[in-house]
Symmetry: C2
Subunit: 377 residues, 2 copies
């Protein structure tokens, strides 16, 4: 029996900094640029894995921290790993949990050996070291594992940001040295908050290590959009061309288009799923809040250009009624639509790059969105 | 253009009192005995109409009272009626709202002219007369409308029960006299609480009117199961053989088998959908509470004999994790399974009656369930 093939990345075409490629994993191929739906607890909220598959998603993001707390690593391992546990035919990237531990605030302290926190489930003391993060992600059967990073809050002082990226670099070294399964890729994460020199130093430290891919982390945590894009651009400039590049936690459709233009390949964000549960739908004419009274008798689908099941079955009037009535079906339908919209956007970007019409694609998109100023009729 | 065909009922076979037949409606054919999923607010909770269709459901129950309050009759009418509004390819029976008004308790008073209550949405005074109930159900585009009835609470004094069935009878007369669309059937409802003589009187009054079908109402409201079945039996005995018979609000799988044995054809109940949201699954070995610790590492599907998407995709361990994590997908998956289970049970009963093996079917089922005493391993 040969070992599972290593995750590999193949660049297919580029147009300016924008690239399209293929990520080959033991659990299938992923066309990039790709958006990864968020399956924190081994489930994308309000949608079945079968539908993710039907929408063309081949890679989702789960969270090692959350899964280690519940149902526990041993359960997921016994069930054959995250993907099999959740009945998903595609591949799974697991974030290590540095970001989630940070969001616990004072309940979590970063020490040179790792993150020390109390379990929010039972109060038990937990020490998450880089070695433990590697072990957890191995046992979860992740196709792509992420290094344990330390994510500074926003705003962060220069001292906080400095300590953060230094811890991230030390932990990255230890994680790169830890053993991992043959078929599993490991991505390093660049930190440095909003300080360009710290970002550059982090880039030097992280890219010096033999990772299979690289992520820019610590963004989209509250900083202005222009700052996020500036730091992302700086990150993309410093990352090796041949490796996949993942911009963590980003973002809106506009953010995705901007970041693909900078040369990023992978993205994850709760925007399409969380907005769906809040009654907000993405369309090519902008965002649409289904609760608005003007939709009360609107027989049109959410998005006339969309071919998802929600747009094929339901009127805006019905979706508004479902949302106002608190029906779970509202979340199901809007989640399916928003993820269909994101999948379509990624496919359109892949096609524009492959045909070297990226600039025209971006210009046409800006023109279409400009008059609507974010809300459509 | 000819008028839409009248709803008709065709008896195909019987075995003892149990019958199998076909209900022909303008929106398709329904094989009976049939279970109707509850779509109170024009949505079956946590499942899309497309899935209902895939599970074989051709008839659902919506509620005229709820839909008149929200989104309003004019909205549903403008959208082409309940079935089109909710994107359902099958037919819709609407309950008139007598039961719901009763559940408002002191906020609702029954007067000879109708039910007077305050809207729970905005406090507005509402008078629901039989004529208004007919009008609402006409505008909602129901394939089958129900008479406005008065449902006594349980327990009810003889005086309460008497007044209840008398109001029901008067309102039934007025509703039978009201005009209704050509393609719409109207079912009368028998009341009388748990008083056999009042039930018999109600039966005489209601069956004297030219209804297309008959329902036994006011049961499964808290009375002991034996009393429910006794009243149901008394109802079935007094209803015309050639018309469809609907036992309202019933019930568990055991209740359905018992009631089909008494000669009922139609059923509705929140059991499969509400239990799903509470983590409870129906199987041929009994009910299974997915939150139990014994399922933490159970790789088996909910029900090894089931071919639904939930049982094809998910382990008990995963479903337990989803439920404990508060994931919407738990409700989606268990709802689909429970409705698949109910659909399968109805098909099995239809087949047993058609092949005149009803007694053997019931005996085999009792034998299978007996050792498990309601909970399976």
């Amino acid at each position: 029996m040969s070992a599972a093939p290593k995750v590999t990345f193949e660049l297919c075409a580029c147009d300016g900094n924008a690239r399209t490629g293929r990520l080959h994993t033991a659990r299938g191929e992923v066309a990039t640029p790709a958006f990864m739906p968020v399956a924190t607890k081994a489930a994308v909220k309000a949608i079945a894995p079968e539908q993710l598959d039907a929408l063309g998603y081949r890679l989702v993001v789960a969270n090692a921290y959350h899964l280690a707390l519940r149902p526990g690593v041993e359960v997921v391992e016994a069930m054959g790993g995250v993907a099999r546990f959740m009945g998903f035919g595609g591949a799974v990237l697991t974030d290590s949990g540095g970001f989630q531990a940070m969001s616990l605030g004072r309940l979590c302290t970063a020490q040179p050996e790792g993150l020390r926190f109390k379990s929010p489930l039972d109060g038990a003391a937990v020490l998450l070291t880089p070695e433990r993060a590697a072990e957890i992600q191995r046992r979860l059967g992740a196709d792509i594992a992420m290094t344990l990073d330390h994510c500074a809050p926003y705003p962060a002082t220069r001292e906080q940001a400095c300590r953060s990226h230094e811890l991230t670099a030390r932990w990255a070294e230890r994680m790169a040295a830890a053993s991992r399964p043959a078929g599993q890729a490991l991505f390093g994460i660049v930190q440095g908050s909003v300080y360009p020199d710290l970002r550059r130093e982090s880039l030097r430290q992280i890219t010096a290590l033999p990772f299979d891919g690289f992520a820019v982390g610590g963004l989209a945590v509250g900083e202005p959009r222009a700052v996020m894009l500036e730091m992302a651009a700086l990150g993309a400039d410093g990352l090796p061309w041949q490796r996949p590049r993942y911009l963590m936690g980003v973002g809106t459709p506009d953010d995705l288009v901007a970041a693909v233009g900078l040369g990023f390949d992978l993205f994850d964000c709760v925007q399409p799923t969380r907005n769906a549960r809040n009654g907000s739908a993405f369309t090519d004419q902008g965002r649409l809040s289904i609760k608005q009274a003007r939709f009360a008798r609107d027989p049109r689908p959410l998005d006339g250009a969309c071919r998802c099941r929600c747009c094929g079955s339901f009127s805006r009037a019905y979706l508004r009624h479902l949302y106002l009535s608190g029906e779970i079906l509202a979340a199901q339908a809007l989640t399916e639509h928003n993820l269909a919209y994101y999948a379509g956007l990624m496919r359109a970007m892949q096609a524009a790059i492959a045909s070297r019409t990226w600039s025209a694609f971006v210009a046409a998109r800006n023109e279409r969105l400009a008059p609507a100023s974010g809300q459509q009729g």
